[in-house]
Amino acid sequence: MYKYFLRYVISVLFLLGISGQANADFKVGFVYVGPTGDHGWTYQHDEGRKAVEAAGIKTTYVESVPEGADAERVIRQLAQSGHDLIFTTSFGYMDPTNKVAKDFPNVKFEHATGYKREHSNVSTYSARFYEGRTLLGHMAGKMTKTNVIGYIASFPIPEVIRGINAMTLAAQKVNPDIKTKIVWVFTWYDPGKESEAAQALIDQGADIIMQHTDSTAPVQVAEKAGVWSFGQASDMQRFAPKSILTSIIDDWAPYYVERSIAARDGTWKQQDTWHGLKEGMVAMAPYNSAMGSDLIKEVEQLQKDLASGKAHSFTGPIYDQKGNMLVAAGSVADDGMLAGMNVYVKGVEGDIPQ
């Protein structure tokens, strides 16, 4: 009896030792497209990484990895050097991520904002940023005096078009006369180009500036020019304290922590995640008191309704620029339509670059 007990104790200790060691060796890697100090996209991903680290899991990151031939090597090196879960946080890493995933079936991969999951160890994730845009639209529609909203856009991909449309629809709801003017800068991060675009929009009469790019340049230009602005990806309040009404915050931390723990404990499964205000992947920075408490209350209510599903960013009737009906009255756009969105809604000026 005693012998069996001893054997039991030893084997339990042994197993604990193994699993303890496996846990201690568990490492998560992150690949960033920009520098961690961009105060936008990459900065927020790195905040997420720090949360994983705080949860007791070792992490590694590689920053400013070009989306060309180098990405595959960096991802492969992370996989080879014992990282068990790798987050690749830019669209351009889609093909390299899938290529490396094929050769490392035991390593889990998470690719942000892409649509290819060619192997069972690749998941994709993104956030419903457009829900935040709906809130911005509501504020913009109420706050504008010139009825011109300036929008700095990066690339004509569905994610960006969705944001433009969601914002315009929400602004029209509270102010039918508004027009959305867009400048395409074809970059995610270029403070020079972004500030030129912001200035051009202000010169065209926009008294609200918002952007789907990552630097703090547009809000700084808006602050100087004395027009309203919104922060993007992270809370940019300190860069334009007077001008910023709020910021859309990408909060990756809960997702990164949850997925890292799942991978460590062996419960990780392939999935396609698209989280929004409800799950907290999209969050709003504190609202500027210059808006007045009535408007703040309205926006907070709308935020709650979007989170609970009572309101939807794309509720019909929605028409495109030519007046064709996109979504019928009383229904909402489904995820399939949102994922492939490539037309402007009525009220947006100009054409989508093709």
Binding site: P35, A69, D70, L78, Q80, P156
Partner: protein, 361 residues
């Protein structure tokens, strides 16, 4: 007033062996400088240097990656050496690379879905021609309109970049790609053959080696090569000897552009496999360092391209294992060039201290 008098004198006798040893000295000084930087940053310098220069190439995959990275650098630098040797300052190899990529990529898309051995050679050739055409612009402007080739070639880099942006966002974007700024993946027939299963090293390396050999032949065994060297040493002598300066300028730019175009097409048909906005992480500019580090000599350039490629890989490895900031790699490249130019100066000039002398002011 007293002043320290320093006199700089030109040395007349520089031995060729020391001339080719100074790059090695520069690398050695860079290692010491790097060790000091790592030490100041709080890393163990020996360990950091090991992660920087040994770990990246400690297995077959790493060696293959080193060659993948060095191939375009070597190719472009070889082309640039023709220009630089003859006093033509082509700074726009990056633009010629991108334009070669655009032309080659366009042909690859034209052949989308086609099979056949002829597809890849046509793409490679068109990429080289694309690079040539783009290099002809500063060459013709220089020879016939007396413009400054540094400015023209540099500004054309941005023209090429914007053209590529336009094409991958608009007319050439992948119809099934949700408007993302990239083309389709090229067909298998349009891809460089991979040399070893599981490694990324591709047939482009043979093109590079052939180019190295050819350029050695041209530079050292032909009349053209002799003209290039004489023009580089003294334009007046070249004119006196009756060399046709204009033709030579155009020829060196064509060679240089073709090499850069080949590098571009090698990238898009090799490791990348499609056109998008980031086909080159500034290879065209880094190759300028490579060309000078290699003493504008074909064999020297091979070694220089390997060293510089290693600084890239090392920066990645050091970041993964030690979380050393990414930009350390660029610091290393800067240090190599700094020490090289510094030792060059001391190589060609003597510094004499004449002691303190009273100045009457």
């Amino acid at each position: 007033m007293e002043a320290l008098l320093i006199k700089v004198e030109k040395r007349n006798d520089v031995s060729p062996s020391i001339y080719f040893l100074t790059p090695i000295l520069a690398i050695f000084l860079t290692l010491i400088g790097g060790a000091i930087i790592f030490y100041v940053l709080g890393f163990n310098p020996i360990e950091a240097l090991k992660f920087f220069f040994v770990t990246p190439i400690s297995d077959l995959y790493g060696l293959s990656e080193l060659l993948v990275k060095a191939t375009p650098l070597c190719l472009i630098a070889i082309g640039l050496s023709f220009c630089f040797k003859s006093n033509n300052w082509n700074i726009g190899a990056e633009g010629q690379l991108i334009f070669g990529g655009i032309v080659g990529g366009g042909v690859a898309l034209l052949f989308y879905g086609h099979d056949g051995f002829y597809v890849l050679p046509i793409i490679i050739l068109s990429g080289a021609i694309g690079g040539m055409i783009f290099a002809l612009i500063p060459a013709i402007l220089k020879t016939y309109f007396n413009t400054n080739e540094i400015l023209v070639s540099l500004m054309l880099v941005y023209v090429a970049k914007l053209l590529l942006d336009y094409l991958v966002v608009g007319p050439w974007s992948n119809p099934e790609g949700f408007n993302f700024p990239e083309t389709r993946q090229f067909s298998e027939s349009a891809r460089m053959p991979i040399l070893f299963d599981g490694l990324r090293i591709h047939a482009g390396i043979f093109i590079t080696l052939a180019t190295v050999f050819l350029s050695w032949l041209i530079l050292y065994k032909t009349y053209l090569g002799f003209q290039i060297k004489v023009s580089g040493l003294s334009l007046k002598t070249a004119k006196y000897a009756g060399y046709k300066g204009k033709t030579m300028i155009i020829i060196v730019f064509i060679i240089s552009g073709a090499c850069a175009g080949l590098a571009g097409v090698g990238e898009i048909t090799g490791p990348i496999g499609q056109l998008h906005r980031n086909i080159s992480p500034d290879y065209g500019f880094t190759a300028i360092i490579v060309a000078f580090l290699g003493r504008l000599n074909p064999v020297g350039i091979i070694f220089a391209s390997l060293v510089v490629a290693l600084t890239y890989l090392g920066a990645e490895t050091a970041q993964i294992f030690l979380q050393v900031p990414k930009y350390t790699g660029q610091v290393f490249q800067g240090m190599i060039l700094f020490f090289l130019l510094g030792s060059d100066y001391l190589l060609f000039f003597k510094i004499k201290f004449l002691g303190l002398r009273k100045n009457e002011l």
